[in-house]
């Protein structure tokens, strides 16, 4: 991207309306992230339809502010009530809450803000530096490569389904199956439309996301609501210890430089891997930092280093996930999946076209990422001591608001009641998926990537006159094919290896 594009994008990003929406996004994101039970995904899913009423730059400013702030704010409840606000802040509760109990709550909150900012900025610079070369590399991609890329994204999502690989596979396939509804992408044959014109365009992705991560999550929280947990949380809130100093000393900052830089690199790389989100990044980084630390015994008992590493890693994931999304069109996590849907609604297609046809908007998104980090740094430091007040909002208050906003948001997308029905069906489905321990990630990715997979697979077969060898004779496609096989086989080999190791240890 040329300097002119960057200068133009910079001017657009500094318009008062863009800054205002970014700030609103940061405030909403901080509240959503800080409240246990509300995730960044839920926030983005609910706010996305609303942003369609704004100018694209304003809308994306709000979403970027919300996402970056929600991930950092997840640490607030992890520190103050030992309950992670978002899954990505799970390791922040290990050290953050102990620091709070030691009377260093202010420092813990300050470290959370500062190192989340450092992680976010580092990964955004990686996005700026590496996205153009990666996007250029994809120019050589054709139908077989895109087909394999979609399959690779799906296989990664299934592979990280933990012990539920079978259920992940089922939902991945079911998601692709659902993407078949509507007009066939090659021959325009009607499929599963049952005479309904509303189904001709297929199942809209965003209402499904709103339902699954909005009302679906609310229904699950109602189902699993435990009074004793609520009492424990209320008790934790009552502790109300003094928070003390917010900023770390220069000596502490110097000591934290090395481990946090490693965590930033790890977080960015993990974020770029499809399906590996902030929770995985923070757990891996926290574990690695403990191994390399001079004081591993302090980890989990109030280590400033442990908290800084976790805070850096979970925000560094954002830039990595955005790199994969913008260059390859493969979502790194559920939030980027919604952002792809959002870009599609604006008439943009993630991938190389983002860097050629919509280069200015792409540059704007990257600058907005940097600005979002800057805004939440200022906002977070200024409000560190009063942010605890957000935690006083009770769950039922949130449930009612989320339920109604989901209805409003899904209707406002196209002024169509059909989308509300899709949203509600997805909500019920999402609830049952959670109850029966089905991972929702593969389903969402299957629905999003299904049409990319199908259209490119069939296009590739048309070009090769029906020869399936086209997928293994092209170098990039072949490498991706091997990666898919390895993704599925490695966990199995690992299990077999562990079983054999355990058996030999038993024999000894």
């Amino acid at each position: 991207m040329s300097a002119e594009i960057w200068i133009g994008a910079l001017q657009l990003c500094f318009q008062p309306s863009v800054i205002l929406f970014l700030a609103i996004g940061v405030v909403i994101g901080t509240a959503i992230g800080a409240l246990p039970g509300l995730s960044a995904t839920m926030g983005i899913a609910i706010m996305t339809p609303i942003t369609f009423w704004f100018d694209p730059a304003d809308g994306f400013a709000m979403l970027m502010g919300l996402w970056n702030a929600a991930i950092f704010a997840g640490g607030i409840s992890a520190i103050l009530v030992n309950t992670p606000g978002t899954p990505a802040s799970i390791t922040q509760s290990f050290d953050g809450y102990s620091l709070y109990r030691q009377g260093k709550g202010g420092l813990a909150l300050g470290i959370n803000v500062i190192y989340s900012f450092i992680g976010g900025v580092f990964s955004t610079f990686c996005l700026i530096l590496f996205s153009t070369p990666i996007a250029r590399f994809t120019i050589s991609f054709n139908a077989p490569e895109y087909c394999m890329l979609a399959l690779f994204g799906l296989s990664m999502m299934v592979a990280v389904s933990g012990g539920n690989m079978l259920k992940g596979l089922i939902l991945g396939a079911a998601g692709i199956l659902l993407s078949c509804v509507g007009l066939d992408p090659i021959l325009s044959v009607k499929r599963f439309t049952f005479g309904q014109t509303a189904l001709l365009g297929g199942i809209s992705f965003i209402p499904v996301m709103i339902g699954m991560f909005g009302i679906g999550e609310v229904l699950y929280q109602i189902y699993t609501h435990r009074k004793e947990d609520q009492a424990r949380e209320l008790e934790a809130r009552k502790v109300n210890l003094s928070l003390g100093r917010v900023l770390p000393t220069s000596k502490q900052a110097k000591q934290l430089l090395g481990p946090t830089m490693i965590a930033a690199v790890e977080g960015t790389i993990i974020g770029a891997i499809p399906a590996a989100g902030g929770d995985i990044a923070s757990i891996i980084s926290w574990g690695n930092a403990r191994k390399m630390s001079k004081h591993p015994e302090e980890y989990g008992k109030g280590s400033i280093e442990g908290l800084a590493v976790s805070s850096t890693a979970n925000n560094a994931v954002i830039g990595g996930a955005m790199t994969t999304m913008m260059t390859l069109g493969i979502p790194g996590d559920a939030v980027t999946a919604i952002l792809i849907g959002s870009l599609t609604m604006y008439g943009m297609q993630p991938g190389i076209k983002m860097f050629t046809e919509n280069a200015s908007f792409t540059a704007q998104i990257m600058i907005l990422m940097l600005l979002a980090n800057l805004v939440f740094l200022i906002f977070g430091l200024a409000t560190a001591k009063i942010s605890a007040k957000v935690l006083n909002v009770s769950q039922p208050t949130v449930w009612t608001a989320v339920s109604i906003l989901c209805v409003v948001g899904s209707f406002a997308l196209n002024n169509r009641f059909f989308d509300v029905m899709v949203m509600f069906a997805a909500a019920l489905l999402g609830f049952f998926f959670k109850v029966f321990d089905f991972p929702t990630g593969p389903f969402v990715l299957g629905l999003l990537l299904g049409s990319m997979l199908e259209s490119n697979m069939r296009r590739a077969l048309v070009m090769s006159h029906g020869s399936w060898m086209t997928f293994v004779t092209r170098p990039v496609s072949c490498v991706l094919f091997i990666a898919i096989i390895l993704t599925f086989c490695l966990p199995l080999f690992k299990k077999l290896w562990n079983n054999r190791k355990a058996a030999s240890q038993k024999a000894e």
């Binding site: 396939a173 090659i186 229904l219 109602i222 609501h225 208050t397 009612t400 339920s403 002024n415 006159h465």
Partner: protein
Amino acid sequence: MHKGDTIPGLITALFGFSVAIYTLVEDTMRWNAQSSDGVPGAGFFPVLLGFVVGILGVALTVRGLYQKGSVQYFKLDPEIKKNLKTLALAVVGIVVFFILWQTTKQFILCVPILCFYLNVIFGRNLKYNLIYTVVFTAFLYLAFVKGFSVQFNM
């Protein structure tokens, strides 16, 4: 639900095979395209994935049977039973709201009813509930009806 993965597996298998069979009997969705040999048609993906989902559903059912009830998803202790009642009331309330909205075409009049109802079943007191309902409805009206001009009454 004491059979763990058995019932979800059966439902999945039934869904998968139904989709595959429906596609096979449907004339327009063919396995192969008529234009060139060996190139998949509109029915290729639905049939293939229908069978994949069906077979994986059977595998899940078998796994559920092998678990012999060791995995239990609906643990119906008294608290969960109470939660299930709240859950059912919430779902019914939302469905009734949809029906009311579509029959009366008066979204902004139906929203406070839903808001009030949900707060009642979530155990909020009357004073709080009334303030919440009024403020939230006003916010929706000003932001979406007046601000974004969303045509809810369609």
